[in-house]
Point group: C2
């Protein structure tokens, strides 16, 4: 699997110098990224493209080829897959569309291609996909990615890996991370999942340097396999699945080949397998930072700290509505808070008032995080001065010390939030709802982990599995 | 009421040259904004402040004074209110805190101040508020507003007026509008509502150049008055009220003086009076643009147009979950769509595919908006080229022609959305959920309006009112 993301030699089949040739954009990006592996262009004329040597067939390439990337019209693909098999290529990414997602004729082509795959023991990613992206070595075979637009995404390698069924979502995540504290590690677009599917990549990301796994799914190919795999994984798995409604499900079917899955079953599978199901697509990039920058939330008692009286009430409403609790501070905790200075309110939500020193912030963070009544913080500070930023930078360390998380929000315009987050690299969420949601999923992951560890000891899931298997057959 | 926003003469009581004097920040802003009215500083020494003449008492000011703004410690306020009465000042803004919101002693001070108010027939805004802001003439008595930070909010006068119970929320709105197509007209911070309340300002904003009224409320003083007023207003009224939960309600009580109102009653009052209740604080600034740039949504059938296959499904899910419908396109509409070019999908969601000309966009907008099956659009175009922007600018006009709205979203990072929205002044929403929500509130307003017009004819609400009155007493 590693060679899908880190091939020592790769043949891009269909890349030529014709204008608007999509496969050539892959070579252009690899050239721009100074990819260190051997790269070949395969086209009818055997011409070199973007400086990479060209051949008219993979069979003519002198050395071993780790990976073939195919971007040709669907009808040509089965023949080319057979050629790859003859050459001994064991991994193929088929980016071309026009297979199962495109009706009966496409379905037949996909079957033909799959029979060659089985004959030669090839592992296939796709068809109808973008392939893989790896920020660690700057490998990327996403067609249409121009360095001017997406080059930035490769500059800082990260630890969040994505399994997606849409290039658009990949772009959205990469784009959004340019103003965030998280970055992408690897990304794989799985398309029609003729062979490799989401479960195979969860398995792989469980073993590499990935910290959080994100998924955008339009269909589930094998619910049982997904569940079995996810259960073994202790890294957070965040999944957004389209098709919560019949209308959404039908729309997704025309995009990638999949059957309309019963959403209720997926939901229950997520809960049983410890997959965090996302509520909106933006959570795919907004939530991972609660896992990479903060300890898990072990309980539901949250202390709100703000110098905006309004946001105390707003936060309290959201916490309770999302199933968290407003921590009830013990009298001695309130006394300790009172001693830090002129607070407007020493009950939770703690209202800081306007004048604050860095030390006062730190003292309050410390008092709250060290108290047994508090499992996590929801700080909503107005960034008046630099001291607030400095205090927040210290807060990240204090959270690690007490093994309790804080989900930050700044009650300011979104453009100011983006500026502060990017400049100081502090994990600020974009709305109070999003910050609370981060606490919710952190707590969810904590409980999943407890359950997974317990299940691991018992090594048995049979009962649930049978139920699910039955449900999926209905 | 007009003179609260447009005083020809104003006395700022408590403004001095002491360091950290808050009232002086008001004079500094008026100086910076070149406010054309007469402005006086009242302080013990009678010294002039920021170039405005100073007096030691309002009684010493030679001419008539339209408005007094008081920012002194609470204990001094009742005496000053009496002096203002003696001077014949009929409007006072009390910004000082320390009244009903601050326990028994403060409550007594508020009562004393109110008795002077009644004696002299003064109308009072506050206490514990920021006063008023008017972008049309650049009047603003919000203390703590420094020109460097908030000056921008006055540059472009707008048409959205706000009634708020928190300065922080005012700042959030002003800040957010710096990257949006809407701007503020007037803003009033009502604090403890000793005299003037939200209903009085709704009444006023119903008569001025306001297009949309936004409210942030922590308490309702007089539910019946609010309802009676709101019923007469045909401009959209958007209200966010804190205290949907008991915890949020308690937190709000410590911020501004108010009783914990029964949220269910407020909710039902909103529905009966045609007030659109907001679900998150960001909707206060994100939603007005659907009213200022687009016709109202008369039905629930929405056509989605996208060139991101993923967002077709995502949008369909959100539409259905929020109570809208995916418009079912008639065969002849689909045929007309097919003729425009190489579309990926001519069923709703319409999938444009990657290559598009401006004319193709315009044709598709026109076909959909002119068809009887479609009440409104949810376009989710990827901004590949400038032609898309040009087409969207035309779309705004096409919507006006057909009297059907479009709620736009661009499937890109929030920073790109902000850039495009600011640069081209097109009404783009920040998430697909927000765009759908805009359609929902537009349709809600349409139905309220129908109801209000009908009610207006009948001129009777008695039955509902009695019920509400009863409920409020419980």
């Amino acid at each position: 699997m590693e060679k899908f993301f880190n091939p020592q030699s790769v043949a891009v089949i269909g890349a030529s110098n014709s204008p608007f040739n999509l496969a050539a954009t892959i070579l252009n990006l690899l050239r721009h990224n100074c990819y260190p592996g051997d790269v070949y262009a395969i086209n009818r004329k055997g011409e070199s493209v973007h400086g990479f040597p060209g051949y008219s067939s993979v069979l003519d390439i002198p050395g071993k080829v780790d990976l073939a990337v195919i971007l040709l019209s669907a009808s040509q693909v089965p023949g080319i897959v057979r050629q790859c098999g003859e050459k001994g290529i064991q991994r193929i990414i088929i980016e071309s569309a026009g297979f199962s997602e495109a009706g009966e004729a496409g379905h037949l082509l996909q079957q033909e291609m799959e029979s060659h795959m089985r004959t030669y023991g090839i592992r296939i990613l796709g068809p109808n996909c973008l392939g893989t992206l790896n920020t660690q070595n700057r490998f990327c075979c996403f067609y249409g990615f121009v360095p001017e637009k997406y080059g930035e995404g490769f500059i800082t390698p990260g630890t969040i890996s994505y399994i997606i069924q849409s290039g658009g979502i990949g772009v959205l995540v990469l784009d959004s991370f340019s103003n965030d504290v998280c970055k992408v590690n690897k990304m794989v677009s799985i398309g029609n999942k003729s062979d490799l599917d989401e479960a195979d990549f969860i398995e792989y990301f469980n073993q590499d340097n990935t910290e959080v796994i994100g998924m955008y799914l339009e269909s589930i190919r094998d619910g049982i396999k997904l569940m079995k795999t996810a259960r073994r994984v202790k890294k957070p798995i965040l999944a957004f699945k389209v098709g919560r409604t019949e209308e959404g499900s039908h729309a997704a079917m025309s995009h990638t080949a999949g059957m309309a899955n019963n959403d209720v079953i997926f939901d229950s599978a997520c809960r049983q397998a410890g997959i965090i199901r996302l509520k909106s697509i933006s959570e795919l990039h907004s939530l991972p930072k609660i896992f990479t920058t903060m300890p898990l939330l072990r309980g539901k008692n949250i202390a709100v700290i703000t110098n905006s009286g309004a946001f105390g009430g707003i936060a309290a409403d959201i916490l309770v509505e999302q199933g968290m609790k407003l921590a009830s501070l013990a009298p001695h905790t309130q006394e300790r808070l009172a001693k830090t200075g002129q607070l407007f309110n020493i009950k939770n939500p703690v209202d800081l008032g306007p004048a604050m020193s860095k030390q006062m912030f730190i003292d309050i963070f410390d008092i709250l995080l060290s108290s047994n009544e508090v499992d996590g913080l929801l700080p909503i500070p107005n960034i008046w001065q630099d001291v607030v930023i400095e205090a927040i930078l210290d807060l990240i360390e204090i959270c690690k010390y007490y093994q309790k998380p804080a989900a930050l929000y700044i009650p300011n315009s979104i453009s100011k939030i983006l500026t502060i987050r990017t400049k100081y690299q502090i994990p600020v969420f974009e709305s109070p709802e999003e910050a609370v949601r981060a606490l919710v999923v952190s707590n969810q992951q904590y409980h999943y982990l407890l359950k997974k560890e317990r299940y691991h000891e018992r090594n048995s899931f049979e009962c649930d599995e049978t139920k699910l298997e039955h449900a999926l057959r209905v």
